[in-house]
């Protein structure tokens, strides 16, 4: 090996080894520790840790109704965010057309996303307050007093209220992503479709949506990931209450670890969360793959 090749080999080796070491130290090792901890009974403080096999997992799945309640609440966020995606796409199409003040409208829609999540949650907490709350005030002024509810303390509606706050926060981000995708659709293709007499729906169905499929894939990933890991909004607005009705997976995990001193159980919940996200992603990938294959065979 000549000197130049030796240097190149060294450089390439270092370029490979350093990221691998970093990955091992900051990702692989903590992940391994997390899995190991999920098989322990440990309060997070004492030095003695007892190996209990899969007991934490068994207890979670078969003896923890609160765990399933938290999971169900996460699914509420996922369902509502999923429902809103077509609305966000329509808004993006609307805003992609040029009209006077479109820049301002785009900025206003995007603004909640760049605002601090904690601040948003606090603001909405007061907005939905039963006493001197802004929302009830608006309803009263509009003569709609009979619609007034215990927005954040009624277990039947609290998750929907929190989901709407989440929608308010993330809608702008999703709309902007859709707009970026729509901007990449080839103009000549759209013009050709118009010349061929394709209506708005047909252009959307056969040109725009297929062209922004990567954006949709990313968005689905973001929505699934975000919904399953929802934390700041319910934590600040209701702290998971009343009576755990708005607990999410993450809040429940944190409570298990810190409030109830069960780090082993909390670790097993974290492992389940990772496993769930991977599973949902695989299912999503499979479905979108099938749709693509079907479409290409139709073509």
């Amino acid at each position: 090996m000549n000197r130049f090749n030796k240097k190149r080999f060294c450089f390439l080796s270092l370029s490979l080894i350093i990221p691998v070491i970093l990955l091992c130290v900051f990702v692989v090792y903590p992940f391994w520790e997390l899995i190991y901890m999920s098989f322990l009974e440990w309060d997070g403080v004492a030095s003695d840790r007892t190996f209990i096999g899969i007991n934490n997992y068994l207890q979670l799945f078969f003896k923890s109704p609160d765990f399933w309640q938290a999971f169900k609440n996460n699914l509420t966020y996922l369902f509502i965010h999923g429902l809103m995606m077509p609305v966000e796409l329509l808004l993006a199409i609307l805003l992609s057309s040029k009209f006077k003040g479109s820049g301002l409208v785009k900025a206003i829609i995007f603004l909640p996303f760049i605002m601090n999540g904690v601040g948003i949650s606090y603001s909405f907490s007061y907005f939905f307050s039963p006493i001197e709350g802004g929302f009830n005030y608006i309803l009263t002024k509009m003569g709609l007093e009979h619609f007034i509810q215990s927005w954040l303390s009624d277990p039947k509606i609290v998750n929907y209220v929190l989901s709407m706050v989440s929608i308010w926060r993330y809608m702008g981000f999703h709309v902007v992503l859709f707009m970026a995708g729509l901007a990449s659709v080839q103009k000549d293709m759209m013009e050709a479709a118009i010349v061929d007499g394709a209506n708005v729906w047909q252009r959307l169905r056969y040109i725009q949506i297929p062209s922004i499929r990567t954006v949709i894939d990313f968005m689905l990933f973001d929505v699934i990931n975000g919904s399953l890991q929802m934390f700041d909004i319910p934590y600040i607005m209701t702290a998971g209450g009343p009576n755990g009705a708005s607990n999410t997976f993450t809040i429940y995990t944190i409570d298990t670890a810190f409030k109830f001193n069960n780090f082993g159980m909390a670790s097993s919940m974290a492992v389940i969360m990772i496993f769930m996200i991977v599973c949902v992603q695989l299912v999503q990938k499979y479905i979108t793959g099938q749709v693509r294959r079907k479409e290409s065979s139709n073509d």
Binding site: D43, V45, P155, P242, G244, A245, K259
Partner: protein
């Protein structure tokens, strides 16, 4: 003073400055001051870290120059205050740090947390601070004093005197009277104002239910260590037990609408504001409420206090739950344990403690340093002089393990009682069942 603020908190300032009351002999005072100066090399150069969740106390450390005063004894020792905005965040952080052997030199504890951190805390049994403390020995952990409480406190019902007069009610002496007073107030003022509540309690944060749910069983039974006694029973929530009785009474009160239209929808800050606006006549809290109230710029004139009566009739004893709080401990992770111990001695000596305790709202725990109560708080012992003090312990190791296993949280249960459709008897039965299972699992049967 160098301050390491982990979480920025924009909360309260310390309350009014009172004169130092020194009720005990000067001999013991001299002893405490001398102890503060004993021990390690005075010229040692190091930094001691002191962690606290009490924002008011941390401000007092700053205002009264804790570091400067300690440097009169140890000129080259810096005090690094680690301030957390709330107790849960504090203990979350400490848990992580304990496993990394990174606990601060000195840290504050609750009575139950000392059991969890037992292996990391230094024995303080031989310190002068412990010997001069009224209640430290009551909180021994397996025969060792691991923390010295810097205050003791009990709860009060703060109320507007003129609103009581207007509604024609008097300070209650029994639980039944308390319920009756609450109902009368609600009926009288609630008719004029839909936002009114006889008792201001923002139960959105479940901790606000603690005067009923946490102290109730101890007050009802007269046993401050009631939680620990529960670990010896399979069905501690069964009918006839003190906890079943008192929770039944509380549930009954919660169902009477005396907490306003939606207590679960408002925060403790909001309830304080509503009380200040006289949209609430009573509020239950510790003396810290008064400090916060004043620090928020409200005028406490017109407010008086009484103790919450849990007893059913005048002939029974009036149990008042009192507890030591903010237990100062020296950790085993300290690189300078002798200096840390010297700091602890200094903290409870005349050089620091009298000024400090007069700056905060709670009562003194140190025998040589007596403290006069704030005049708002003075009315309670005047109205109810014959109370029986019940020293409260928040639970030892077995109880902590049972809580981990059953996820029993008395304050959450209080918030749960306020939800619609709550079935008291079924919930008690569920708790009994999970308690039995947990005892079996933890080999406590």
């Amino acid at each position: 003073m160098r301050k390491n603020k982990w979480v920025l908190a924009s909360m309260v300032l310390a309350a009014g400055l009172a004169l130092v009351g020194c009720g005990e002999s000067t001999g013991s005072k001299e002893k405490t001051t001398a102890a503060a100066g004993e021990g390690s090399d005075k010229n040692i150069s190091c930094t001691l870290t002191l962690a606290t969740w009490d924002v008011t106390a941390a401000r007092t450390f700053d205002e009264l120059d804790l570091e400067g005063r300690f440097q009169e004894l140890y000129p080259n020792v810096e005090i690094d205050i680690e301030e957390f905005s709330a107790e849960p965040e504090y203990f979350n952080s400490m848990k992580i740090r304990s496993s990394a052997s990174e606990l601060p030199d000195l840290m504050f504890h609750k009575s139950d947390s000392m059991y969890q951190y037992e292996e990391y805390l230094t024995d303080l049994t031989d310190t002068e601070a412990n010997k001069n403390n009224q209640i430290a020995a009551e909180y021994m952990v397996n025969g060792r004093v691991l923390g010295v409480p810097d205050r003791k406190t009990n709860d009060y019902v703060f109320y507007w005197v003129d609103m009581f007069e207007e509604a024609g009610v008097e300070v209650p002496d029994t639980w039944g009277e308390f319920v009756e007073v609450s109902e009368k107030l609600q009926a009288y003022f609630g008719a004029k104002d839909p936002d009114y509540s006889a008792i201001s309690m923002g139960a959105k944060e479940s901790w606000t239910t603690y005067p009923f749910m946490e102290y109730g069983p101890a007050a009802e039974s007269g046993n401050g260590y009631y939680w620990d006694s529960m670990t010896e029973e399979d069905k501690p929530f069964a009918e006839g037990t003190a906890i079943h009785t008192v929770y039944g009474k509380v549930y009954d009160l919660f169902g009477k609408g005396v907490f306003g239209k939606d207590p679960l929808g408002i925060t403790s800050d909001q309830s304080k504001e509503l009380f200040a606006k006289r949209k609430g006549t009573m509020t239950l809290s510790s003396p810290m409420f008064l400090s916060d109230y004043k620090a928020d710029g409200y005028d406490p004139s017109g407010i008086e206090t009484f103790y919450l009566p849990f007893r059913d009739d005048d002939s029974s004893e009036f149990n008042l739950v009192t507890q030591g709080d903010c237990f100062l401990s020296v950790t085993e992770h300290s690189e300078n344990p002798e200096v840390a111990k010297a700091f602890l001695e200094f903290y409870f000596s005349e050089a620091w403690y009298p000024d400090y305790i007069n700056h905060i709202s709670s009562d003194s725990t140190m025998m040589p340093f007596h403290k006069e109560l704030d005049e708002v708080l003075m009315t309670a012992p005047e109205l109810q002089p014959d109370v029986v003090y019940v020293t409260y312990g928040a639970g030892k190791s077995d109880f902590i393990n049972m809580v981990s296993e059953t996820k029993f949280d008395c304050k959450e249960l209080g918030a749960e009682m306020l939800t619609e459709g709550f079935d008291f008897n079924r919930r008690m039965e569920e708790l009994n069942q999970s308690w039995t299972d947990a005892r079996k699992k933890l080999n406590l049967q």
